[in-house]
């Protein structure tokens, strides 16, 4: 379900085998929005590089980062921008990534403002102009919004500023933690999780029902809320990013 002229993108799930089918159309998103442990492995990068002729466009999603994670992002950006050139994108959800890309200047990555940065304004009808000025000064021309309401409220001004809008489907971002509850099968926040991880998020997620009846998705260290009351992805967005959630969770399915 894509509106005419609307871009579409798909999150790619690791591990990626050399023979794994890639989307036949649309951009590929790689990486993670909330956990630096899920940044793509070097083997995945090399696999994608070797198949770059099959890929319509590549976007690296980056989360909030420690210095260790930032070093991996720098290495990943250098490798992918060299291989994919113009049209390779990096979604920044950490101010430090804006700084990194500026320092790497001229390496071919298009910078996108992630929804952890833009989503802070989700319950307002507008962005501060200073925020948009900052993005423009850093060369950002695309903004990932967090809800259909935020999209409708802000897209006019963003368009006036020459910025395109993205919306993730089927869920909005709610919160994240480093006390990841996933390894413990969601028995509660795990206060030792910063120091250890078995990457159980590759094989496990949870669904929680809010008293309002809305469904929350617990994916790794992130909490998402399904877009509800919509028959499908909003047509107003310039790009719909299909997250790697099981299809049965799609409220429009």
């Amino acid at each position: 379900m894509t509106a005419p002229g609307q871009e579409v993108a798909f999150f790619l799930r690791e591990p990626l085998s050399a023979e794994a089918p890639l989307p036949r159309s649309g951009r590929i998103y790689l990486g993670d929005e909330t956990c630096e442990r899920r940044l793509p492995a070097m083997a995945t990068l090399e696999s994608l590089v070797s198949r770059r002729n099959e890929i319509a466009g590549l976007t690296l999603m980056t989360p909030l980062l420690t210095d260790e994670g930032m070093a991996r992002v720098a290495e990943t950006v250098a490798r992918l921008s060299a291989a994919f050139g113009r049209g390779f994108e990096v979604v920044a959800n950490d101010w430090g990534v804006l700084e990194l890309l500026e320092r790497m200047g001229g390496r071919g990555a298009e910078l996108v403002c992630g929804r952890l940065l833009a989503g802070r304004y989700m319950f307002f009808d507008s962005f501060p102009e200073e925020f948009l000025d900052l993005l423009a000064a850093r060369g950002v021309r695309r903004v990932e919004l967090n809800s259909a309401a935020q999209l409708r409220a802000t897209r006019g001004r963003l368009r006036e500023r020459g910025m395109k809008t993205h919306l993730h489907w089927p869920a909005m971002f709610l919160t994240a933690t480093r006390f990841c509850p996933c390894d413990g099968a969601f028995a509660g926040p795990d206060r030792e999780a910063i120091a250890s991880c078995s990457r159980s998020c590759d094989r496990r997620f949870a669904v929680m029902t809010h008293p309002s009846g809305r469904r929350l998705i617990l994916r790794g260290n992130a909490y998402l809320a399904l877009h509800e009351g919509l028959s499908g992805p909003p047509e107003e967005a310039d790009r719909i990013v299909h997250d790697d959630l099981p299809a049965g969770l799609d409220p429009s399915a």
Binding site: P128, F186, L216
Partner: protein, 327 residues
């Protein structure tokens, strides 16, 4: 190391200075019915009630040599930016020593219009790495509040970097509650918004309410519900102590120890401040080392808070490890 303490009324100044406050931070909520409150605690009881109160607080604290920082530390709607700027100028007229903001995009304006004041990028700026420190410093921040979910090891590395850049760092040391990343968390706002649509869910501590949950496990390419449903709360209901972490934070050069508690009764807050002050005094006197820093924290916990230290409420895993090891 300085202790930064919240302030909600000029009448609290004397008690908190006596307890050991080196610096205050305060917001102003002078028009509660409008819903406008550009700081991270948008409740009238957590803020000063007027800019006159702010001026009075600055005067009283100033007589004890204690500066007051003005909190403008929440994300803003576009229409709120001009009002926030007007508030900042009023705070400057009241004599504050600095401004705390959550808006990196406001830093250049603040640095221009509040010269000579300490401009701080607050915890809602979400700082986890050295490049973020550089980004914020480049925009005009003289001080950066670190996210609470960093480890002490990570804080140590950031402190070394910030020192090279001449940026002060601030870290939380007491009464740490939430397990989520403050800078990006929308849980409360979302919960309130959907509840207005008929959910009837209480706004306060929405993430601490237990909700039905089912776990799905992957089998091949498919997920199936494997674990029987249980109830789950996104956050736990307790707050955590980080007093002993002062030993590490002090050593790595953190400039400011932040105490939160704009919601707490005055005497409870003063007890926290006094405990932290007493610990810092021991550090300044060179009385603590790796063999006794936890024992000192445990003793002060009992003396000032009237209860035994609970290892399960120790915030940093590095300290918990030493606590279990009997340091």
């Amino acid at each position: 190391m300085q202790i930064a303490v919240p302030l909600r009324s000029p009448d609290e100044v004397e008690r908190l200075v006596r307890a050991g406050a080196d610096e205050f931070y305060a917001g102003v909520m002078d028009d509660p019915s409008s819903g406008y409150c550009p700081n991270a605690r948008p409740m009238p009881s957590s803020n000063l009630r007027s800019f006159e109160d702010l001026k009075e607080s600055v005067a009283r604290a100033g007589s004890a040599g204690v500066p007051v920082m003005f909190c403008a530390n929440a994300p803003l709607a576009g229409w709120q930016a001009d009002r926030l700027k007007a508030d900042v100028l009023r705070a400057c007229e009241a004599g504050v020593a600095g401004i705390i903001t959550a808006e990196p995009s406001m830093l250049p304006w603040l640095a221009r219009r509040a010269p000579g004041l300490t401009i701080t990028a607050g915890t809602l700026a979400g700082t986890f790495n050295s490049l973020a420190v550089d980004f914020l410093a480049g925009a005009g921040a003289a001080r950066v509040v670190l996210d609470r979910l960093l480890t002490l090891t990570e804080i140590g590395r950031l402190a070394a970097h910030a020192a090279e850049r001449g940026v002060q760092l601030e870290a939380f040391v007491a009464d740490i509650g939430c397990v989520h990343v403050n800078a990006v968390c929308l849980f409360h706002q979302w919960s309130a918004a959907v509840s207005e649509g008929g959910g009837g869910h209480p706004k306060a501590a929405a993430c601490r309410v237990r909700m039905p949950l089912s776990v799905w496990e992957r089998s091949g390419e498919l997920f199936s519900r494997r674990v029987p449903g249980h109830e789950y709360a996104a956050a736990d209901p307790w707050t955590y102590c980080a007093t002993c972490s002062l030993f590490h934070l002090h050593r790595c050069g953190i400039a400011v120890a932040k105490i939160i508690g704009r919601h707490r009764p005055l005497e409870a807050l003063a007890s926290q401040v006094a405990m932290v002050k007493a610990y810092l005094r021991l550090l300044d006197q060179g009385e603590l080392d790796a063999s006794n820093y936890v024992a000192a924290g445990r003793r002060l916990h009992r003396e000032h808070l009237g209860s035994a230290c609970d290892a399960s409420r120790c915030f940093y895993h590095e300290v918990r490890r030493d606590l279990r090891g009997g340091a």
